[in-house]
Amino acid sequence: MQSKRNLVRLAVVTITLVSGLIATPALAREAIAFVGAHLIPIDGPPIEDGVLVISEGSITAVGTRDRVRIPKDAQIIDAAGQTIMPGLVDTHSHVGGGWAADRSAPIQPDVSVYDSINVRDSGFRRALAGGVTTANVMPGSGHLMSGQTVYVKHRAGNTIDEWVWRDDGGRPLGGMKMANGTNSRRDPPFPGTRGKSAALVREQFVAALDYRRKLEAAGDDAEKVPDRDLAMEALLEVLDGTRMVHHHTHRHDDIMTILRLREEFGFRVVLHHVSDAWKVADEIAAAGVPSSLILVDSPGGKLEAMHIGYESGGVLEKAGAAVAFHTDDWITDSRLFLRMAALAVRGGMSREGALEALTLAPAQMMDLGDRIGSLTVGKDADFVILDGDPFSVYTKVLETWVDGDLRFDRSDEKDRLWAVGGYGAGQPRAVGGCCQRMEEE
């Protein structure tokens, strides 16, 4: 028993050491200045004839041409006629074919999608072609709690360990995927009704609170420390607010159930999909809970989505609630992520709000708002270069940069295949052929 605590400490130290060794992405060292672009910084008004300077993977200057001093040794890139905005942040994606919980139980907090992501899936390439630079890769919605999600940056690297976002201690960052409504209803041990769904969730959170009480009661007394329970530990991260709940939900009553459970247990939550958001926008805003929306071409496809429309973004915005968008890739195509925000504008959302909902708002919903989501000095050099207005159907993503590295270049034949499709585009990363590490491509 004595060794239990030490074992925990050892594990943490090991994780930190290992991640310290592997999480050193190749950063572009020399300064690069993009000159003459239309800049959309998000945290301030658009800048005409702007200059963006990046160095060692970070943004070092943003402003008008007459205000920004370009370092002498900087590489100058003429970006006249182009639009530069922050890399798109997707709060909800299934690229990489990752899966977490299996069919054995409706609540599986200790299972992580981290252990199943295929980084060579062509979906990641398509996401970069759409301007996505960070995504919350989620398990599915067929469970009340289908496991831990992982925040992935699409940086140069060969393994998931290099792609994943980490905290200062080197621990991978991610949330907890939950769902209510019809997707998680099936034969026992899964719930058969909405009431049972909520009851099962309550039962697990109550158990986690008991586990915490036992830990606290034990204090330093090793004899009393309960056996480690990884599922309970993950639930405690949720209850402590260090692991955000990303909650699939559609119907207005299911949305209210989440707000009620949150009230009871105090977890932090982002509502996902939220088809009926327009019906309970004031309630969502009053709770101060952010929403990540998906907009699709037509209503229906399932009973819960019968009232989904293009209006929810504008309605939530007017109610004062935080709004982001997500692809739910493969439900919608990451290559067309900008289109979703444009449809929200069509449905009444402000242009500014819709741009923020692709960048800073989703970054904040993943607690990454101080690192990414705007063209701000000190933030990561994650950005997208467009050949026109972000909301125009005729606009193309020309380049996607991550950590100061050019990760997608439409003028490159191979990258173009990921952007528009064609023969071989469906193959999982076979295009590079044998023996090439991904960061070398």
Binding site: R126, V296, D297, S298, P299, G300, G301, K302, L303, A305, M306, Y310, W330, I331, D333, L336, R339, A342, L343, V345, R346, F391, S392, V393, Y394, K396, V420, G421, G422, Y423, G424, A425, G426, Q427
Partner: protein, 404 residues
Amino acid sequence: MLHRVIVVIATLVCSAMVMAGDVAVRAGRLHTANGPVIEDGVVVVRDGKIVAVGPSATTPVPAGVEVIEAAVVTPGLIDAHTVVGLAGYLNQDTDQDQLETSEPVQPELRAIDAYNSRETLVDWVRSFGVTTLHTGHGPGSLVSGQTMIVKTAGATVNEAVVKPAAMIAATLGEQATRDGGKPPGTRSKAAAMLRAELQRARHYLDKIESAEEGETPDVDLRLAALGRVLTGELPLLVTVQRHQDILTAMRIAEEFNLRLVLDGAGESYLLIDEIRESGIPVIVHATMKRAAGEAENLSMETAGVLDREGIPIALQSGYESYVPKTRVVLFEAAVAASHGLGVERALHAITLGAAKLLGIDDRVGSLEIGKDGDLALYDGDPFEYTSHCIGTIINGERVSREAR
């Protein structure tokens, strides 16, 4: 009593009549689809038919006719292949009538027996300017049934119908195969079964042809339906994605001298010469269709490539099994326009080009005198995501008004 009968009959006749209205539309930009864009143009519709089209300065609007204004006006849009009206938006077993899986070959299934004219998605696509649908039995069985052509207005299918039988729908490739040892289990078996059915239908037609009076064979609805593609009355619509399956469809069409329409045709860009020389038209997959499974290699540039090579094309919303339950052909054309097809040709592919491919260009597809008064009204470039459709007119009646 006689009076009441007459009233009832009159009511019945009226309700079965297609509505027809008088209206004039003045457009900042008028796309006629059969000529150059007219700046500040006018279209006049009387009794549901177009009676005048031209610049507003020289095209008078008869007194008393309502004038609707819009920034941009196009012919009513045509979705060249969909399952809207048969595949309901709720996606429950009870509202899914686009695919009957009990048998692999059922050409006798008629779309008109399943089309729900009041389905939510009919209203939905109409609110984006779509006025004509080629809809019916969908992909997924070797021969799934018949398709039809309808307008997106009309309380009943009788009011909506343009062509009760348009094509016979078939599928080749993995999507046509079945699990559990049920035939067809392979690509080749699917092709062999299709050949056998066509051969049977040919014998049936021959027997009818050569029968002595009073000795005609018993009616076989299945073979009679398939016989309509052998006589050339109906095209065979074959949904295929892989290049080898496209060639199989073309091979069978040649063997039986069928009118073939290729549907989907994800890898058709590998067979440009073969398709062009055959003269076969292609209803290209939805531009934003998911690149997965047999369609993993599809390209958003295919429509543009085929069109440039002189292959007749039209665009479609296609079939969706989940969310979104349907795509909107306006949006599919928009993305094709921005991926090499260009605005004018993309518009052509969902108006006159589609009408010609479907054989309905005597009625719809362009703004010409004598054609149906079907128009789509927009507050800007119809293809821009942030524009709105502000009205849809069918047979001179305004059937959608809300800005969407």
